[in-house]
Symmetry: C2
């Protein structure tokens, strides 16, 4: 398969969009008609997980249909599916497959990080080619770098097979600073991590000059983004925190490289639940929110870098 950075870059150019829609399904925020259709019992009652996963699948297929023209990728977050046990894991796979069929790239937001043969097992399950696992339908995963290079190597090795990674560098949550901002010899830890990512990604660059060993850098910290970009001039950035988490599009400029390239921006709740408090078809509201987010981001992207 083509290098993930090439695939993502081409898709951004073709679709004129750097929007990623985060799939963070929370059952009690689903449209009432979806919940009614499935008949979900109260949490904890027999059959709840199966019904909850079923309703989640119906909802997310509707979301995918609505956002497919406006987004380059979806980012299902594994935690919201694991929460339903084995049936949730099945739902995650089905939703990912459906998104892939609609021409969206799939970034599995798993934030995994483990050592030795466990890292290899995770890499096989998430990015491998075994039927009935996520591997064949997932293009990229998010990873946690705290365990160092050997924990990431089985994933990095799969970049040569067309897969991509986004390593957590500076996250957008308030406590992200607890470790990430600690002073390491005059600079914050996250910058040290960025420099390690640059080293780990050497040799993975695609034909279009971008690197599939990418990073996650929160949109709530634009001055930090500029510093990370300086260390990683070719890496793809996955930027969460736009929309419901508080970051505005104008703050995204420092993330982009020349020609408005090298960045995808995630929006989850402000797209997923755009129908909240509105009349009419919920899918339309979701599609409109995605379209509007895409336009908002395009203004910045086309003027950046």
């Amino acid at each position: 398969m083509q290098n993930f950075a090439d695939r993502l870059d081409l898709s951004i150019q073709e679709k004129k969009s750097c929007l990623v829609v985060g799939l963070d399904p929370v059952l009690d925020r689903l449209p009432p008609e979806v919940l009614c259709e499935v008949g979900v019992p109260n949490a904890g009652e027999p059959g709840w997980t199966a019904r909850a996963a079923s309703a989640t699948g119906i909802f997310l297929r509707g979301v995918i249909d609505a956002v497919a023209p406006h987004a380059v990728a979806v980012k299902p977050n594994a935690g919201f599916f694991e929460r339903f046990g084995a049936v949730g894991w099945d739902c995650l796979r089905q939703v990912s497959e459906y998104a892939a069929k609609q021409g969206l790239l799939v970034i599995c937001d798993a934030k995994r990080g483990d050592i030795g043969n466990t890292a290899a097992a995770y890499a096989e399950g998430l990015l491998g080619d075994t039927p009935d696992t996520l591997g064949p339908v997932t293009d990229a995963v998010t990873l946690n770098p705290y365990l160092g290079e050997d924990s990431l190597r089985p994933f990095i090795d799969r970049c040569s097979a067309g897969k991509g990674l986004f390593l957590l560098v500076r996250t957008s949550n308030p406590s992200g600073a607890d470790l990430q901002e600690l002073d390491v010899g005059g600079e914050p830890l996250y910058l040290k991590v960025a420099r390690l990512v640059e080293k780990w990604g050497a040799g993975s660059r695609g034909e279009r000059g971008l690197n599939p060993v990418g990073v996650v850098v929160g949109a709530t910290a634009p001055e930090q983004a500029a510093a990370v970009r300086k260390e990683l001039p070719e890496a793809f950035f996955l930027v969460p925190g736009y929309g419901a988490q508080g970051g505005g599009a104008e703050e995204l400029a420092p993330f982009f490289i020349e020609g408005g390239r090298g960045v995808v921006v995630n929006s989850s709740r402000s797209v997923l639940y755009a129908f909240d408090g509105k009349e009419g078809d919920w899918r339309e509201a979701v599609g409109e929110a995605a379209s509007s987010a895409r336009e908002d981001l395009e203004t910045v992207r086309t003027q950046s870098g």
Copy 2:
């Protein structure tokens, strides 16, 4: 439910064992008779995941029967089950439930770490009370601290309901040093993390003086263990790296607190695959390896702290 630290401490006293058996099942190392019984096709062929998960379940139930008299807990590693997709997740749940029924505590080695409502979703799925999820059959989980306090809070809050945590501080893999040994104001990052864990765990202590907000500190680094123990005088330590990963029992002494308390030691491959190259029933070889590891550890434990 009783505080996890109390439950674990009592179980160690009663069983006279601090051994945890890590469940890291690798298909091609399973006993041939188990593979034959199930008839596992080649990887990638239709039905492989279901057959692989089935063989894994049979193997691990046999392991659990064999080690139950000698160990206080099992530590299934989520990566080896995720590798089989949804059926693997189901297998993880069934194996955990089986271990709980045999009187073993279950530590799910998931190494999760995420933010906001995702952290809450993971905590509900792994430690909550929803039927058909891991929550009801899992006593504790491992977590990655890179995202800071708010990513851990939904888990810490469950300690009051009898659950336990082990936060990664210093891991036993060669690249663990990449981040964990970085110099932060004259001391390594992992010591800063240990101090944060002490702060985060305040208020969770059990009646027996130990804290269920524990840590993972690798056995390959005994002098580091002493430094971490100084920062965390009451936390439970989960020590991997004993056995196949290279650490010896005599190096474990600095981990223990007074009375040989506050430590559990994990052994995975040297117990799981003890039948390798031996004649006779594979379950017997596994049981003997667990018994021998227990004795080895008891010598150190009863002379420590």
